[in-house]
């Protein structure tokens, strides 16, 4: 387990943004087949400043600014991955996923299978998600459910700097297509991150961020930090176990089942729209595998099936936060 590794290894305090950039830097240094492509990732360093100065270090052939052509360059990343490259594409906002969806769902996801296993697909797609910036409906979406739902694609969505670094490195090293979802409100969040260049976190492993015995909160992205704060507030009153789900697909059923065995109660907190969201899958796994551990109805926290409105008073209403997690805990504990 990576958490065991964490205790042994040297760490450094980093933000999520720095952790992602560090993972990219290390993997590019390690493997010359790795290159980056996306809109304004070189000269501008990415609109949310994630790729930063990497182009100065690796040159423009390995940090490529593309035209505004998501279908073209994500498709090209797919074709490049099938022919011996290891591209990492940046999709500026996940709301633009639709533009590239054909290449993602019919090519990237299916080629290995359709070709009888005759091709690898070592492509990583990094993209940003989430509300909270007043960026309105077309720049605030959380779409990771689409990818997690689609057979043949892997999806990760870290909630801490360490998870961001370890998962991105595994994503890049993987021979399968992995989507790496970055919540844009946590770029500045900092934490301890292992400095060892060989530190990775396996795809498909959740992490218990805080142990507890009364209720399990399975959270993703920004809601991991929010849930940890709630757990802190409730300390002494209700013992809350907080799990960073980290991997949406593959999904770590064991960690969820084990936790439910202790707590018997669960809240699933994820910024997807509620209907058919990540929550639903986590709940289904819990019901299938830990039904007899359950002492209360499972609660979910997410976006109530609306788009993200512009006005702060509206956005605050539909954007899930710690208070909503707290409300959900109160309903069942």
């Amino acid at each position: 387990m990576a958490s065991a590794g964490l205790e042994r290894e040297e760490t450094q305090t980093m933000t999520v943004r720095e952790a992602i950039r560090e993972a990219l830097r290390e993997e590019m240094a390690r493997d010359e087949d790795v290159f980056l492509l996306g809109e304004d990732i070189a000269t501008m360093g990415g609109v949310l400043d994630v790729t930063g100065d990497l182009y100065e270090e690796f040159g423009r052939d390995r940090v490529r600014d593309t035209p505004i052509s998501e279908a073209g360059f994500i498709g090209a990343a797919t074709g490049a991955a099938a022919t011996g490259s290891r591209p990492v594409a940046e999709l500026m906002f996940s709301d633009f996923m639709g533009v590239a969806m054909e290449q993602i769902m019919n090519q990237m996801a299916k080629m290995r299978y359709m070709f009888g296993g005759k091709t690898e697909m070592p492509v990583t797609v990094r993209t940003t998600e989430g509300g909270g910036m007043g960026a309105a409906s077309q720049h605030s979406g959380t779409v990771h459910t689409w990818i997690a739902h689609f057979p043949g694609l892997m999806a990760v969505a870290p909630g801490t700097p360490a998870a961001a670094k370890g998962l991105l490195k595994s994503a890049i090293r993987s021979n399968d297509p992995v989507f790496f979802f970055e919540n844009k409100m946590i770029y500045e969040q900092s934490g301890e991150v292992p400095t060892d260049a060989e530190f990775t976190i396996p795809l498909g492993e959740a992490n218990v961020e805080r142990e507890g015995t009364d209720v399990t909160v399975v959270a993703t992205q920004r809601l991991v930090g929010e849930s940890l704060s709630v757990a802190e507030e409730l300390d002494g009153e209700t013992s809350v176990e907080v799990i960073d789900l980290r991997s949406l697909y593959p999904l770590d059923t064991d960690t969820i089942v084990e936790s439910l065995g202790k707590t018997g109660r669960m809240v699933v907190a994820d910024e997807s729209p509620l209907s058919y969201g990540v929550h639903a899958e986590v709940m289904a796994r819990a019901v299938e595998n830990a039904f007899y551990s359950l002492d209360a109805p499972i609660q979910r926290v997410g976006v109530p099936d609306t788009h993200m409105p512009f006005s702060p008073s509206l956005e605050g209403e539909v954007l899930p936060d710690g208070e909503d997690v707290r409300g959900a805990i109160d309903r069942i504990v």
């Binding site: 501008m44 073209g72 533009v99 209360a296 609306t306 409105p309 512009f310 006005s311």
Partner: protein, 347 residues
Amino acid sequence: MPAIDLETEDGRNEALRRMYTIRRFDETAAEHFADGEIPGFVHLYVGEEAVGVGACAALEDDDYITSTHRGHGHCIAKGLDPTVMMAELFGKREGYCNGKGGSMHIADVDAGMLGANGIVGAGPPLGTGAALTIDQKGEDRVALSFGGDGSVAQGQFFEAANLASTWDLPVVFLIENNQYGEGTPVGEQHNVDNLSDTAAAYDIPGITVDGMDVVAVNEAVAEARERARDGEGPTFIEAETYRYHGHFEGDEELYRDSAEVEYWRGRDPIDAFAERLMDRGELSEEGFEEMKDEVEATIEEAIEHAHSSTDPEPEEAYDDMFDGEVPDITAFAERLRADGGEQGGEL
């Protein structure tokens, strides 16, 4: 009748006023964005005013436009009310979209303004769709889609242009070549000398005009509109222009130098047109000052109105998802609002 007739003195004065209104609207929006009063992102049209005004002047009032993320200028050019626009930028209920859209999604469907757009390249298919309605219903109007130089690299653009050309739909594609897509120069995004060269791929006319010259844009759009109305299909117009501000407010602009910005500022579309009107004796120094004061008053009023407008009530977030109420959303909303309630059943 064109919305603003540049053949007349009054029309020319009105065009100047619109351009100046856009300039002051956006400069003022920048200040209030910096103050934190305007949430989200704003992309300013300062420097590009001649394109929006020249184009919309040539349209008739019931023609349609589709806009972009850089849409304030298109709105004002199309005749939208700066007061209602500003309220939208501030996220107020009195805004065009009741605070749901903001700068990037401002729309006034009744005025034929089918929305600013957060998705690069998404406007041309919608404009083509409006033209399809016109064609189906045999109406006497046209659609015009604005797009940036960057948008011509989108598959959506290619597909819309091809469809519109194949069906001879009454739509005009007006590409605002402001030399950059975010921080990437147009030459690094396209391999053609002129973006209008790509019109050959659809077998439609492609022309490049001086986008700092409101008359040049106006004449090109007027001609394209005639073609569209006559059933001859779309035209691709590229207007060479420049944005004085960064891509969005807060952009560090590391990709260009100040000499370049100064060069384009030296070709300012408002100064140039005002000078022309003065040379023709159609505008005096005092007249221009008076016009500026009037515009200033309009913008001040817009800000005051925005300040006195109301924030939407949080529960309005659930409105407008569908034509009617959907029980799923209502149930989620009730649960969310009834913290500590008994959702999930009795224990």
